[in-house]
Symmetry: C2
Subunit: 409 residues, 2 copies
């Protein structure tokens, strides 16, 4: 297992952020994932990193903070912390995040309290979010089990069995296999995704129409000059990197004001530690005008009402129902995986990479072209085995893109 973990670390360093000679690398990791973090640190140095910094976090300690601290205390954001983020931007550091959120951990915390605190901190380091979202740097998210996460995914197994099974499922989804180069396997997969993007870009659809038996009947307008992306990306300087490992999705930019109809979730959404289940959203002129959830509706409300832009879409993504993650049959309770088992949408900020000429656009210009602005960006799943997706061309022609959840185009 140690050797597979090292392969996984190498995948994050080489295909993930593709660390450049002398570059600073910043790793955010749960304290519980220290074993993988050590391997990533060493692989980063071996790949030529000049300085590797690690920030360890812990969900349970965060929960204690929310539980016991006043909102005023939680909203304090010392200047040195801003400077710490500024240093990352100034050094054009590569960012690696090890993702291992604990599903449902925050369910006893007032979502409004969490929202206030998150908005306060996001405002302080907006420059840092911009740095990451606009691909000035290479960044990568990989996952690693914690005991709490593993036991939430496999509640009937023992602590150790659940951990091992989740780790095996993660490695398999990331194409890390014994006796093979995970970097080569991953890079081949990236090439496949790139060719899919090319086909969709050539069609240049005006909108997509989604229908399935859950009741979803949604038309998503796409911005003019949109770009389908997914898989590997490139920094402004042309360095290839893979933001998400694993990833199976291709995604583009919806027009924030041209979304009409109703969408039903097909998987629970783990938002701020709350598991939102069986929810629907109804859109008019792009805006969420109605929503319901069978569980944790207040958390859904805090997302929709997070800020002015969080009630509009920022991303639409297609994933074949036959993706490896979907076929594993495991509900990972983690967006990094579950979003790759299903077509999904995101409320909140758009990705500038999904429109031509974004680099030279101001935020106002992007907004005027239909690209959504928000301080948040949260994916939710709505793909099903009977999903039908029809593309409408600029000339009004209808082309079936997906049938029964899979590409037919």
């Amino acid at each position: 297992m140690k050797e597979l973990l090292r392969e996984y670390a190498r995948l994050s360093v080489k295909s993930g952020v593709n660390v450049q000679k002398g570059q600073m690398v910043v790793i955010n990791s749960p304290a519980e994932c220290v074993e993988l973090t050590r391997l990533i640190v060493e692989e980063a140095y071996l790949a030529g990193a000049g300085d590797v910094r690690v920030n360890f976090t812990d969900d349970i300690i965060s929960h204690h903070k929310y539980q016991y601290q006043t909102v005023e205390k939680l909203m304090e954001f010392p200047n040195w912390m801003i400077d710490k983020y500024q240093e990352i931007v100034d050094n054009k550091a590569a960012l690696i995040e090890i993702s291992a959120p604990t599903p449902g951990l925050m369910k006893d915390i007032d979502p409004k309290k969490m929202q206030q605190v998150q908005i306060a901190s996001m405002q302080k380091i907006k420059f840092f979010r911009t740095y990451q979202m606009s691909d000035e740097c290479q960044w990568n998210i990989v996952a690693m089990p914690t005991h709490a996460w593993a036991s939430a995914v496999f509640p009937d197994l023992s602590k150790e069995e659940a951990y091992t099974k989740l780790l095996e499922a993660i490695l398999s989804a990331c194409r890390v296999q014994e006796g093979k180069s995970s970097v080569e396997a991953w890079d081949a997969h990236m090439d496949t995704l790139a060719s899919h993007n090319q086909i969709m870009n050539e069609y240049n659809f005006r909108s997509l129409h989604f229908t399935n038996s859950l009741g979803t009947d949604l038309t998503v307008g796409l911005v003019k000059d949109h770009i389908w992306a997914g898989g590997a990306e490139y920094t402004g300087k042309g360095v290839r990197f893979s933001p998400n490992i694993p990833t199976e999705e291709m995604f583009t930019m919806p027009h924030r004001l041209e979304v009409e109809g109703t969408v039903y979730s097909s998987k629970p959404l783990n938002y701020s530690g709350n598991l939102i289940k069986d929810f629907m959203l109804r859109f008019e002129k792009g805006k969420v005008v109605e929503f319901h959830a069978a569980e944790a509706e207040e958390a859904l409300r805090s997302l929709v009402e997070f800020d002015e832009g969080s009630c509009y879409l920022g991303e639409v993504a297609l994933v074949p129902y036959d993706s490896p993650i979907s076929n594993s049959g495991i509900l990972f309770l983690n967006t990094l995986f579950d979003e790759n088992a299903s077509c999904h949408l995101a409320l909140g900020r758009c990705y500038p990479m999904n429109i031509q000429g974004a680099l030279s656009m101001s935020e106002e210009e992007l907004l005027s072209k239909g690209g959504n602005q928000s301080m948040t960006h949260v994916d939710f799943m709505f793909g099903t085995s009977d999903m039908k997706v029809v593309g409408i061309t600029q000339e009004g022609q209808e082309i079936v893109v997906m049938e029964n959840g899979n590409f037919v185009i």
Copy 2:
């Protein structure tokens, strides 16, 4: 075991730092010790802490940094980090450190490289060291096993057995027992140490003469108006706290220029990740003029030559050979424990608390009274089962303080 760990966390929070209503608490913890850290965080909030901050570290990642980074890169100390320490001082935060160093981990790293880096960082945050050493704040060190440490202490046991055995030994040494209040047991122990200090303070010896069969023959002059301390301490504002858990020692301030003779170590010294074994030091007029070690002599050299003051003594401490830690028969390879199994000395900085009137003294005054100055402070053990300690009074009278390693006074 979970309940014992919570008792241990409570001990650190209540008897250790004795956290005050609304106070900031800063915890430094190895990432591997996250389970104990979570409990300490929660107990600190329950005790009224206003804000608990955690800095997780990892020895193996530190080793990677020393292995792969240039000394110039390692010596960089960004301003935000200085500001972070300044914030702790400004808030008069209580400090908790979880100690779990890995013995011998740094043995392949050039001690000179480590020394350069340590001096550079110590110079940047000297104000912080002053804050802690002069008892402006409550601080506390407790220990927790890591797998690497446990396996070094019990190399013949399995990984899990070694971990459990070390944890049990630590809890036992700290008087944490099932069904009893660890805080009450600890506070009673502190009262006993306080009464021992009182006896030694009343004798007001001019010097101590140590002899044993290892060859030690050392006279340690004590500064005028020295104070024997050990166990609980008090901040300037009168808040009682226990810096070291466990502790069995009583200690005072040697006169930096009045140490004569030779001392032989009785236990290995784990310094900067190197295990220095079977070493001797010869003093003339307080200064180390000769030293040898059977193993890791270069590490010993880097300690003695660390700075101008590291070749003089800053602490002399008496520990009965019959202390609970000594009786456990375990060599913990960690100063926090091993120093409490044996009489010891420290090279480097003195503790201002060990002399009357220190609060109103400048560094120059303290130095002129014989109190040593240095950026380092490193304990080493020289007590044995046949140690004899004779106190010489101001009038030249000889009083036997210890015989066969135990107090007879």
